[in-house]
Amino acid sequence: MINLLYFAWVRERVGIAAEEIAMPSDVATVGDLVAWQRQRGEGYAEAFADDDVVRTAVNQEHVDLGHPVKNGDEVAFFPPVTGG
């Protein structure tokens, strides 16, 4: 299983804040997971439309699309940050 978390407008588009899913069989990297998310439905497709916009953290560290994803990971998707 992997834990997926969504923040800000990514959460609004997907429609939920968190979910636990079975690790998809053909997913090895963050990029694979993003492609898999995109085909799950309209909200997901809209949230993940642009690879250049949505940011990802694996186990609470910023990562890029090539980063590996494995069973037990916490993977968060969010827009570019706007704190401070």
Partner: protein, 150 residues
């Protein structure tokens, strides 16, 4: 020290706490970020700051640790609020104290520039046209990039 909290903070008290009892400190530089009222057609009222509990603390600790590696600091502080805030409210306080002013100025500037591009916070503004997520600014990326060591 880092703190992520919903409640407001007292800048004067925080600065006093940082330097209390440490006579090696010769300079302390601080920066306070406030909720700004935007000019234009979509004036903002309140603003809500969302964050990623757990990762936020880790990210701030990492930024603070990096500042302490790069500058000789006697004390450093990051306080960032989340939740609902009004124009004029304090959002963030960063401060750095060192024996000499140069390190405290530079470290303080580094702390806020890095925080703006690394810490997982998102601003949702209540505008006259409805709630609107604030877009990230490329100028913030450029500001953080100045501090990247090659």
């Amino acid at each position: 020290m880092i703190r992520v909290q919903e409640e407001d903070f007292d800048v004067g008290q925080e600065i006093k706490n940082m330097s209390a009892g440490n006579h090696a400190i010769g300079g302390l530089c601080s920066f306070v970020g406030l909720v700004r009222e935007m000019a234009g057609s979509a004036d903002i009222g309140a603003m809500t700051l969302e964050h990623y509990p757990g990762m936020t603390e880790k990210a701030l600790e990492k930024i603070e640790a990096e500042a302490n590696e790069r500058w000789q600091l006697e004390s450093s502080l990051i306080i960032h609020r989340y939740g609902k805030m009004e124009p004029g409210d304090q959002i963030v306080l960063v401060a750095a104290a060192s024996p000499h002013r140069e390190a405290s100025f530079e470290a303080c500037h580094f702390l806020i520039d890095f925080l703006k591009t690394k810490a997982p916070f998102w601003k949702l503004e209540d505008t006259s046209e409805g709630p609107k997520w604030v877009d990230a600014r490329s100028s913030d990326d450029a500001a953080a990039a100045r501090w990247v060591q090659t």
